[in-house]
Amino acid sequence: MTTSTRRNVLRGTALGSIALAAALAGCSKKEEAAPAAPSTSAAAAPASAASGPLKVAFVYIGPVGDHGWSFAHDNGRKALEKELGAQVQTTAVEKVPESADAERVFRDLAAQGNTLIFGTSFGYMEPMVKAAADNKGVHFEHATGYKTADNLRTYDSRTYEGAYMAGVVAGGMTKSNVIGVVGSVPIPEVIRNIDSYTLGAQSVNPKVKVRVVWVNEWFNPPKETEGAQSLIDGGADVLLQNTDSSAVLQTAEKNGKYAFGWDSDMSAIGPKAHLASAAINWAPYYVKAAKEAIDGTWKTGKSWWGVKEGAIDLVSISDKVPADLKARVDQVKAGLKDGSFSIWKGPIKDNTGKEVLKDGQVADDAFLGGIKFFVAGVDAPVPGAK
């Protein structure tokens, strides 16, 4: 009895290690060196005592080919190489799971002499905190996180500003006055995007209702398709998604409805359905961070960049969108740029009728970071809410 049990356990372990080995082998690695530098450059990185280009590493959660989140980060990496040329040398590791493996990857990258390391997923927070504690000479940058240290800082994009502008377009384009969102995971960031989309739509069309389905995953194309199909079957004619693939846009295309690109410009994917893309542009931040690391002015902190800093934009607006609606989007964009317009300004009520922002009150970043309610107009309960 005992032997057979032990054998089963051993077999289980063997299978586990096969799976693990294969998973590790799946993490592909890509290294791209900038063209050889003329070593006359006096601005050698003081962070690493040796001269030569600043070694910058990026860690991605998904494949670069997801055409969404990781793709946008990789575009930022490429723009950094283009902008700073021989001053930087970048490495990217993709498909790193949010597990203990991540810490190993960060430690590895530090050991390989990278002195600026970007971790681009929320779940890398603890691994990065640990890796940063043991590699004081390395600057760590964590996207979407909230924990910092002397050599670990956070950065994020105000994606909700993109969602608001998409909402303006959706509100103007809907004929059924029902628009939908395929949500990934009900965390404040995503709820804030759905709310902002709703506020944008209501700003041009007070009758609009927003419906939401949750996939409970960031990346699952068939499920995203099924969720989008349910929204369309329920009468929604303009869709937004806060997931990582282009499946929702494809589904809208197939059904003759409208949708948006998210994170990256997806205009090529569903030419008929595509209204615009809320595209993140990480390049300005990556260039700034690399410059700071090179000239030794890098300091810890938290950055949350939006339209103002060029970190998010509504791009590739379709010709199907009428000129007055486009003008409205431009107006919002200009207002966000010069600070004369705030999306989250009272009076705002949640969808149970409770006032969350008083008349004239503008939400601060702490308020925005903890949004766990849907605004009035969203026809759905927040999952898990009482």
């Binding site: 063997a14 299978l15 096969i18 799976a19 294969a22 998973a23 082998a25 799946g26 494949p63 080919g65 997801d66 055409h67 939908g180 419906r211 939401v212 389905v213 949750w214 409970n216 995953e217 990346f219 699952n220 194309p221 068939p222 499920k223 995203e224 398709t225 099924e226 969720g227 199909q229 349910s230 929204l231 079957d233 329920g234 009468g235 929604a236 693939s245 282009s246 499946a247 494809q250 589904t251 295309e253 197939k254 090529a268 994917i269 569903g270 030419p271 008929k272 026809d379 759905a380 309960p381 999952p383």
Partner: protein
């Protein structure tokens, strides 16, 4: 009323991928071979089908390419487990992981490709009927082919001589060999057929259902199809019904969410798996039930003359 018709239509569509893959896996499991590589075969078939559709513009050629891709992978698996007697579970897992990586590798260039506008289908006259028209008769032909396949497979397994032989091989390969049947070749044929059908399912997913290619896009449908064969106690019509049930639960939970009903979507999502465990518990309780429902040599290696 209209939304319920659409919900039914979406359920049939969602069930089709699972039904075709599940019926394929049923063929090889009836011959006594478990192939856990379904997910990997479907992924490789999905990229093969998608690439074919991009280059030729023909969806039917794409299904063919998917079938070939699935069959080739299944043949490799068959040679390993049937002739070299490697462990079926470990080999199947390896095949699945290989398919995942391989499809991602060959698919890199296709991530940004998109297919021409997907055609709409409707059965003449019937498609115009109220309620049943949008619910049943505006589907891709593959949806109806899945039903035909389930009926044909039932006939094959229980009414034809070849089906009897296939079942005999799955129940007792020793007896089948004693009667003079080439057990290994029959098993290989069953595995290849299973792979081909998984391939068609994978191609349907990337060409019709979610018309795009991204890495890992099958996202677990292969594993659900594997659970489905057990849930259906290895009967074709039950596989079909189970596929609609599994597909229906997914669509229902999205439908309820879209309607704003406060019901835990996570709870509904796990129901099919709970049901599968329930069926396993039921049929494993006494030997008569196991005998009546499960191919007796399932997962066991066969040594001719040994």
């Amino acid at each position: 009323m209209e939304t319920y018709a659409l919900l039914l239509a979406a359920t049939l569509n969602a069930g089709t991928v699972l039904a075709i893959a599940g019926l394929g896996l049923l063929v090889n499991e009836r011959a006594g071979v478990v192939n856990l590589g379904a997910e990997g075969m479907m992924l490789v078939a999905a990229i093969a089908g998608f690439a074919t559709a991009v280059h030729t513009g023909s969806d039917w050629l794409a299904f063919g390419a998917g079938a070939v891709a699935g069959a080739v992978m299944a043949a490799a698996f068959g040679l390993l487990v049937i002739w070299l007697n490697t462990n079926q579970y470990a080999t199947g897992l390896a095949l699945s992981l290989f398919g995942n990586g391989f499809s991602a590798f060959v698919g890199i260039g296709y991530v940004q490709e998109h297919l021409a506008t997907r055609p709409h289908f409707a059965v003449p006259l019937l498609g115009d009927l109220p309620f049943v028209g949008p619910a049943l008769f505006r589907q891709h032909p593959m949806v109806y082919l899945a039903v035909v396949l389930a009926v044909a497979l039932t006939w094959f397994l229980y009414r034809s001589r070849a089906g009897l032989v296939l079942r005999a091989v799955g129940e007792s390969p020793e007896s089948a060999q004693a009667l003079g049947y080439p057990v290994r070749r029959i098993r290989l044929l069953a595995v290849v057929c299973g792979g081909a059908l998984c391939g068609v399912a994978g191609a349907y997913l990337s060409v019709i259902y979610t018309p795009l290619w991204v890495e890992d896009m099958v996202s677990g449908k292969g594993w659900i199809a594997l659970a489905l064969t057990t849930f259906a106690t290895w009967r074709p019509m039950r596989v079909l019904l189970g596929a609609y049930l599994f597909g229906g639960v997914t669509m229902l939970q999205f439908h309820l969410q879209a309607e704003g009903v406060a019901l835990s979507s996570q709870l509904l999502t796990m129901l099919p798996y709970l049901a599968t465990i329930g069926v396993l518990v039921l049929i494993s309780r006494n030997p008569a039930w196991i005998r009546a429902n499960m191919p007796a040599s399932l997962g066991k290696p066969f040594f001719p003359g040994g």
